[in-house]
């Protein structure tokens, strides 16, 4: 299409007869009409997104730069500096980061292991898939009772520990609490990630693996040299997804331990909730802007890493 019009342009203008000019004008009009149609279809969503996300986020950025909702006093980075001196924010950010740093890699690696396990020809494969996926449909609020029975100071896990000759551990009120929450996080999210990896594994060209088999490649070599290479876009996606879900672990923590949990479980969402109670817009806005920037940077880094790792695999 493009080449066609370029060629025409080189020719002298007088050779354009009326018919062609008409056709060209019609094409331009058609293009404009298409643009209008596309906007028509897009507009409900675009209006809503603009109204509920883009415009107010602009205001949030503005609020983060002034010193009070009523005033127009620009203080630039003061709110951010205050935020970085706020001990509650620092604790919440630290806890959230350390939780994500532990939980996300585990969620990626273990889900991949589950997918590889199901790839071996074992009986009841599709039943296992259903079982592994089932926690994702269970609302957190529904299983919280069982978690309490298991991890309470007088709970079942401690009974087991006692029976094995250990001492009681206060799972939710000591440094172990982070691992308890990681366990709940994995329980809920592994199934979803596993499905993604199974789909990724199914997309690896069979011939490649067959050739590797004929050449006598070991399972480990096949995994690292072929499968992992082709899985790299999936790894990227699962990592991003797990990262987002790791911010949702507040649900488990809140439903298990309430507004003020053990220090190690005080998450960013707790900080936001408590700041909402005092309606400190400057603090809230600065925190939201900082988080948005951190997320964009993290995701950009992950994309770059994937580009580098999967560069010689097409598709």
């Amino acid at each position: 299409m493009k080449r066609f019009s370029l060629k025409k342009k080189k020719e002298p203008a007088r050779e354009l007869n009326e018919e062609e000019a008409l056709r060209r004008r019609e094409a331009v009009r058609e293009k404009r009409r298409d643009f209008g149609r596309s906007l028509c279809f897009l507009s409900p969503s675009l209006l809503g997104v603009g109204m509920f996300f883009i415009v107010p986020f602009g205001v949030v950025v503005y609020y983060s730069l002034i010193d009070g909702v009523g005033s127009r006093n620009f203080v630039f980075l003061d709110n951010f500096l205050a935020l970085f001196k706020n001990s509650a924010f620092l604790m919440a950010a630290g806890n959230t980061l350390s939780f994500s740093a532990l939980a996300v890699p585990l969620a990626v690696v273990l889900a991949m292991v589950l997918a590889l396990m199901l790839e071996c020809r074992i009986p009841l494969k599709s039943q296992f898939r259903t079982f592994f996926l089932s926690p994702m449909m269970v609302p957190v609020a529904s299983v919280v009772l069982i978690w309490q029975v298991l991890f309470n100071y007088n709970g079942t896990i401690n009974e087991l520990v006692l029976a094995l000759g250990g001492g009681r551990i206060d799972w939710l009120q000591s440094d172990y609490c982070q691992w308890v929450v990681i366990l709940l996080f994995l329980w809920k999210n592994l199934g979803y990630n596993m499905i993604l990896f199974m789909a990724g594994l199914a997309n690896i060209p069979r011939e490649l693996l067959e050739v590797a088999d004929v050449e006598g490649a070991s399972e480990t070599y096949k995994f690292f040299a072929i499968k992992l290479r082709y899985l790299s876009p999936t790894v990227l996606f699962v990592t991003i997804l797990s990262l987002i879900n790791s911010f949702k672990v507040f649900r488990e923590v809140y439903l298990l331990t309430g507004d003020y949990p053990f220090e190690k479980l005080y998450m960013l969402q707790h900080f936001m909730n408590n700041t909402f109670k005092s309606l400190d817009y400057q603090k809230l806005s600065a925190a939201a802007v900082v988080m948005a920037i951190v997320m964009v940077v993290l995701i950009a880094l992950l994309f770059k890493a994937e580009d580098w790792f999967g560069k010689d695999v097409e598709g």
Partner: protein, 291 residues
């Protein structure tokens, strides 16, 4: 050689079975425990919910899979005698159904636009949607709160429903599905003189019926489980959905809480059992943020 292979697969099977039990047990325990009588529940778990954490009691907890005597008394109490739980269940429905219907409807139109027409501006918008989709609640809740405040819908259902309807997740997923529809199909319809709306409703939507179903399930499960939004946007305890309210059980009503936890599981469980194949297909197709 062959023997070793069998051994490996046997071990793999056992490992899978072990994981399967671990994945299923919490759900199964919740369901079976909901059929216990209040007395049995109290004698089994009373010490856990009556003392604050850290206190030691000499009674031992007694986690049981099968109740001594199966009874529906908890369900009778929760569903018929005290309307409180049922009211919260109704709150959940009133919040989630409009979001699911609205989000899927708005998203399918938008996804059609992203599929049908390309251009620099529109691919820029699509990229922006992806970024927005990846933002956690901690970022989006502050803007949502501001708008709700301006519109005067704070503390009403609409403060959750409206932003939920425009969440970009479904747009992203549906666009990926629709881009798989052969272009020749649309082209042929156009040559036959079909308008865009006809192409959308008569060709595009029927083609991605399974995708629409799987997205409905995904969105439903996500919002049925919501905790963050109601905590901030609904101050009123009366209008809280059951997903938040369940955690505020009294120590005397554990049995009832088990029963209501099970009731709350039923809608997503039914959707899951009915549409698992679609769900898996939907998840599998969300597999990459690129392209």
């Amino acid at each position: 050689m062959k023997k070793k292979h069998y051994f490996g697969r046997g071990a793999m099977f056992l490992l899978c079975a072990f994981f399967a039990v671990a994945f299923l047990l919490p759900t199964v325990l919740t369901i079976t425990n909901s059929f216990m009588s209040e007395a049995e529940i109290n004698s089994n778990y009373g010490m856990i919910f009556s003392t604050t954490s850290g206190g030691y009691v000499s009674e031992t907890v007694n986690l049981k899979l099968i109740p001594d005597k199966v009874t529906f008394s908890q369900y009778v109490t929760g569903l018929i005698k005290s309307p409180e739980y049922l009211l919260k269940f109704w709150n959940s429905i009133l919040l989630v159904l409009p979001i699911v219907i609205g989000q899927v409807a708005i998203a399918s139109v938008a996804a059609y636009s992203f599929t049908r027409w390309r251009g620099k501006l529109r691919s820029g918008i699509f990229f922006f949607y992806v970024i927005l989709m990846l933002m956690p609640y901690q970022v989006t809740l502050v803007p949502n709160y501001l708008v709700s405040d301006w519109l005067g819908i704070l503390n009403t259902r609409w403060s959750i429903i409206l932003p939920g309807m425009f969440a970009p997740f479904s747009v992203f997923l549906l666009t990926k599905f629709m881009r798989r529809i052969p272009y020749s199909l649309i082209e042929a319809a156009k040559v036959d003189g079909a308008g865009e709306w006809d192409i959308f409703t008569k060709i595009c939507l029927p083609q991605c019926r399974s995708a629409l179903y799987s997205i409905t399930i995904l969105v439903f499960i996500d919002y049925w489980n919501m905790v963050e939004q109601p905590l901030i946007l609904l101050q009123d305890a009366e209008s809280q959905p059951l997903s938040v309210f369940l955690s505020s059980i009294n120590s005397g009503e554990i049995g009832l809480a088990f029963a209501m936890a099970t009731v709350y599981m039923i809608p997503p469980l039914l959707l899951f059992l009915h549409g698992e194949e679609y769900l898996v297909e939907g998840i599998a197709n969300s597999g990459s943020v690129k392209g």
